[in-house]
C-alpha cells in the first residue's frame, strides 16, 4: 500500500508506539494510512473479541471443550496480520491466535467448526479447539506442543529463500515458548541461514502461572535476538498500528533478503490461561485491571473517532452485523452434525498400513463406523 519503511531501530529500549491510550497519533512520522485500512483493522479487532466471548459461552454450554481466550492479544495479532500477504506468505501461529487467523481471512465458519469439531471442520475434527489451520491460507495447522512449530516455520522460510520469490514466513509464539530448546534451535538456524522469517512473540508476561522473570534471566525477549545475529524490536502490543508498522518493516527486510527478525509485543491476556485455569492463584486483580485500561480496541476506536472515521451508529451496526454472522456460523456448524467414528482411521499415512486396515476392519465388525463419534 505504501512504500518501504525502515523507520525503527532494532533494540530501541522503549517499545514502539503509534497511538496512545487516548487514541492520539504519537508516531514520529505523520499518519499515512488509508482510512478504510484502519477501519478494517478496527472491525477485525471487534470481531475477534466477539468470537472470543461467544466461544466462552459455547464452552459454558458444553458445546466447546476448551477455550484459550485471546482477549488482550488482538491488537498484536490484527496488526501483524496486515503486514503479510495471506496465501502468498506463510503463517505459523500458536493456539492463542484465533484473531490472527480470522484477520488473515480464515472463514469464521471454519474457525467455529474447528472449535466444535463437527463435520463442518475441514480438519475433520482431529484436534481440540484453538488449533486453526488452512492450506488455502498457508496457515500451518497449530500443534499443542509449545514451540514445536518454530523449527518447521524456519524450514518453510528456507524453502522460500530457495524459491527466490521474496515470500516470507511469519511465526508467532508466547513468551513461554522462548524457553524451549526447539525455539532456540530454530532461531539459530534461521540466523545461520538468513531465512526470510519474522518471529513474533506475544509476550503476555506469563506462561500459565509462571511470570517472565521466572522464565528467563534476560530482561525481555527482544534481547535474545542478539544471540542469533538478527534485529530485535520491542513494540506496544496493545497498539495494533504499532504492531502493523514494526512487523511490516521486518517482513520487508525478509523479502529483501536481509534475513530474519524477532519482534516482541507486550500484551496481556485478560482472562485465565484457559477455561481450566484459575489465574487468581498467581496474579493480582489490579494488574489485570491496569492492562484492561490499555485495551487495543478502545484505543483504536478513540483514534478513529478522533479522525471522524467512526461513531456510535457505526459501532451499533457493526455489533449487529457480527452477532448475525456469529449466530449463523454457529448454527451452520452445529447443523453439520458430529463426525463419524470411522474418520478416526483416515489420514494417518497417504494410504493406510496393513496393520491399520486390519484394526479398522476389526472395529467395523463390532461397531458401525458411520455412527457419530463419542
Amino acid at each position: 500500500m505504501i512504500g518501504k519503511t525502515q523507520r525503527f531501530e532494532p533494540f530501541a529500549e522503549a517499545p514502539v508506539r503509534v497511538i496512545d491510550e487516548a487514541g492520539q497519533w504519537i508516531a514520529p512520522f505523520a499518519y499515512n494510512l488509508d482510512d478504510d485500512f484502519v477501519r478494517g483493522m478496527y472491525r477485525d479487532l471487534v470481531r475477534a473479541r466477539r468470537l472470543d466471548e461467544r466461544l466462552s459461552t459455547l464452552q459454558r454450554q458444553g458445546k466447546v471443550s476448551f477455550v484459550a481466550s485471546a482477549a488482550g492479544h488482538e491488537g498484536a495479532q490484527v496488526g501483524m496480520a496486515r503486514a503479510i500477504e495471506p496465501g502468498r506468505d506463510w503463517l505459523y501461529p500458536y493456539y492463542r491466535d484465533l484473531p490472527l487467523a480470522l484477520a488473515v481471512g480464515w472463514p469464521l465458519a471454519e474457525a467455529i467448526a474447528q472449535q466444535m469439531a463437527t463435520r463442518a471442520d475441514p480438519a475433520r475434527g482431529r484436534q481440540m479447539p484453538a488449533h486453526p489451520g488452512s492450506a488455502a491460507l498457508n496457515l500451518f495447522t497449530v500443534a499443542s506442543p509449545i514451540a514445536s512449530h518454530v523449527p518447521p516455520a524456519v524450514g518453510t522460510a528456507i524453502a522460500q529463500k530457495l524459491a527466490g520469490q521474496g515470500d516470507v514466513t511469519l511465526c508467532t509464539f508466547g513468551d513461554g515458548a522462548t524457553s524451549e530448546g526447539d525455539w532456540h534451535a530454530a532461531l539459530n538456524l534461521a540466523g545461520a541461514q538468513g531465512a526470510p522469517v519474522v518471529f513474533f512473540c506475544e509476550n503476555n508476561g506469563y506462561a500459565i502461572s509462571v511470570a517472565f522473570r521466572h522464565q528467563s534471566g534476560s530482561v525481555d525477549v527482544a534481547t535474545k535476538a542478539h544471540a542469533y545475529g538478527m534485529p530485535g524490536y520491542r513494540v506496544d502490543g496493545m497498539d495494533a498500528l504499532a504492531c502493523y508498522f514494526v512487523t511490516r518493516q521486518a517482513v520487508e527486510a525478509a523479502r529483501d533478503g536481509l534475513g530474519p527478525s524477532l519482534v516482541e509485543a507486550f500484551v496481556y491476556r485478560y482472562g485465565a490461561h484457559s477455561n481450566a485455569d484459575d489465574d487468581a492463584r498467581y496474579r493480582p486483580a489490579d494488574e489485570v485491571a491496569a492492562w484492561r485500561r490499555r485495551d487495543p480496541i478502545g484505543r483504536m476506536r478513540r483514534f478513529l473517532e478522533g479522525r471522524g472515521l467512526w461513531d456510535d451508529a457505526a459501532e451499533a451496526a457493526l455489533a449487529a452485523e457480527l452477532k448475525a454472522e456469529l449466530d449463523a456460523a454457529v448454527r451452520a456448524v452445529e447443523a453439520a452434525g458430529p463426525v463419524p467414528l470411522g474418520w478416526m482411521f483416515d489420514d494417518v499415512l497417504a494410504s493406510p498400513s496393513l496393520q491399520l486396515r486390519k484394526q479398522r476392519a476389526a472395529l467395523a465388525a463390532q461397531r458401525d463406523l458411520e455412527e457419530p463419534a463419542r
Binding site: 482431529r126 513461554g176 458430529p338 467414528l341 478416526m344
Partner: protein, 325 residues
C-alpha cells in the same frame, strides 16, 4: 485412613516425602503457586517454599536435565511434566542422560529421581493431551517405569520411587485423577515395591492383564463378564519396567487364556511385550492365542476420544474370541 482421590494422593504423598527427607524437591511448570495444572502439587509451595518447589521455565529438557544434575548432587528431585505428551522435548535427557548414567560411569554416578507423567486419553485433549508413551520407556534400559491405577498404589509406588536409587518414570492415569476414591493408609512408610504386579480379582476362565488408566475399563469388563457367568482374573501390572512376568506366567499357565489390555497404539506397545513373553514362555499352556486389546495405530483422535480407548465392549469381544477359540 483418609478417603482420597489419586491426584490428592500424589500431592499428599509428595508432602509426606518432603517432610521426611529434605533432599526431596519438586520442579516443573506451574508446580509452585499454581499447584500444578492438575493440582498434583497443591499446597507444597506454601509449605516448603520456592527453593524446594521450583517453578521452571517452559522447557522439559531443562526440567529433566536439571533433575539429573540435582540427583547427582544428592537431592531427590521429583519432576512434573505437565502432560506425558510433553515429555518428548526432554526425551533425550531421559534416555541419554538419566537412563545411562549409572551404567556409563560404572556406578560412580547415579540419578535417583522421579519424572511424573500425567498420561492417558478420555479427556477430550486430542493427540497431544492423551498419549501413553510407556513403550518408549520400557525399551530404555536404566529406567524404571510404573503406572499405578489406584490411590493406594500411587502412594506406595511414589514413595518407592522417591526413595529408590534409580530414575523412575512415574505415569499417572489422569482420567482417573478424580474418578477413583479410596481409603489410603496413613502409614508414612506405606511402600509398594517396584516390579510387583497384583491380582485385583481372582478368576478361572480368562486372565485379563492391564495397568494404569486401562485398569478401570478392564475391571468394568470383568464385572460385565461376571454377570454373564464368566470368571475373569484381573492382574494389575502396576510396574512395567521391571514387570512381574513371573506372576503373569503363573496365572496364565493356570487359566490358559489371556487378554492384554493397554491404551497405547498397538504396534510396538507394551501389550505386545507381554503377549510375546507369554507366547515364548508358556506356549504349551495356552488354550487360545494371547490377544491384545489396545489403542489403534493412529495419533490419538479428538472427536473419537472415547472410541479410541479399549473400552469394556472391545475387551469383552476379545474375551469372547479367546473363550470360543
Amino acid at each position: 485412613m483418609a478417603v482420597q482421590t489419586i491426584v490428592q494422593t500424589v500431592a499428599r504423598t509428595l508432602a509426606e516425602e518432603m517432610a521426611r527427607d529434605e533432599r526431596v524437591v519438586v520442579l516443573g511448570e506451574d508446580v509452585g503457586k499454581r499447584g500444578g495444572v492438575f493440582l498434583a502439587t497443591e499446597g507444597l509451595f506454601d509449605r516448603f517454599g520456592p527453593d524446594r518447589v521450583i517453578d521452571t521455565p517452559l522447557a522439559e529438557a531443562a526440567i529433566i536435565g536439571a533433575a539429573v544434575g540435582m540427583a547427582v548432587h544428592g537431592l531427590r528431585p521429583v519432576a512434573e511434566i505437565q502432560f506425558a505428551d510433553y515429555v518428548f522435548p526432554g526425551f533425550d535427557q531421559l534416555v541419554s542422560q538419566a537412563a545411562k548414567l549409572r551404567y556409563r560411569s560404572g556406578g560412580a554416578f547415579t540419578a535417583p529421581m522421579v519424572v511424573r507423567l500425567p498420561a492417558g486419553g478420555g479427556v477430550a485433549g486430542g493427540h497431544h493431551h492423551s498419549q501413553n508413551p510407556e513403550a518408549h520407556f520400557v525399551h530404555t534400559p536404566g529406567l524404571q517405569v510404573v503406572y499405578p491405577s489406584t490411590p493406594n498404589d500411587v502412594k506406595g509406588l511414589l514413595k518407592s520411587a522417591v526413595r529408590g536409587d534409580d530414575p523412575v518414570v512415574f505415569m499417572e492415569p489422569k482420567r482417573l485423577y478424580r474418578a477413583i476414591k479410596e481409603e489410603v493408609p496413613d502409614d508414612p512408610d506405606h511402600l509398594v515395591p517396584i516390579g510387583q504386579a497384583v491380582v485385583r480379582r481372582a478368576g478361572d476362565d480368562v486372565v485379563l492383564v492391564s495397568y494404569g488408566a486401562s485398569m478401570s475399563e478392564t475391571l468394568r469388563a470383568a464385572d460385565a463378564l461376571a454377570e454373564q457367568g464368566i470368571s475373569a482374573e484381573v492382574i494389575d501390572l502396576r510396574s512395567l519396567l521391571p514387570w512381574d512376568e513371573d506372576l503373569v506366567l503363573e496365572r496364565v499357565a493356570r487359566v490358559g487364556r489371556v487378554v492384554v489390555v493397554s491404551e497405547a497404539p498397538r504396534t510396538g506397545s507394551f501389550a505386545s511385550e507381554v503377549a510375546a513373553t507369554i507366547a515364548e514362555e508358556a506356549l504349551d499352556l495356552l488354550e487360545a492365542p494371547p490377544v491384545r486389546v489396545t489403542g489403534f495405530d493412529t495419533p490419538y483422535p479428538y472427536a473419537q476420544d472415547r472410541a479410541y480407548l479399549p473400552g469394556p465392549d472391545r475387551i469383552l469381544h476379545a474375551v469372547q474370541r479367546v473363550l470360543d477359540y
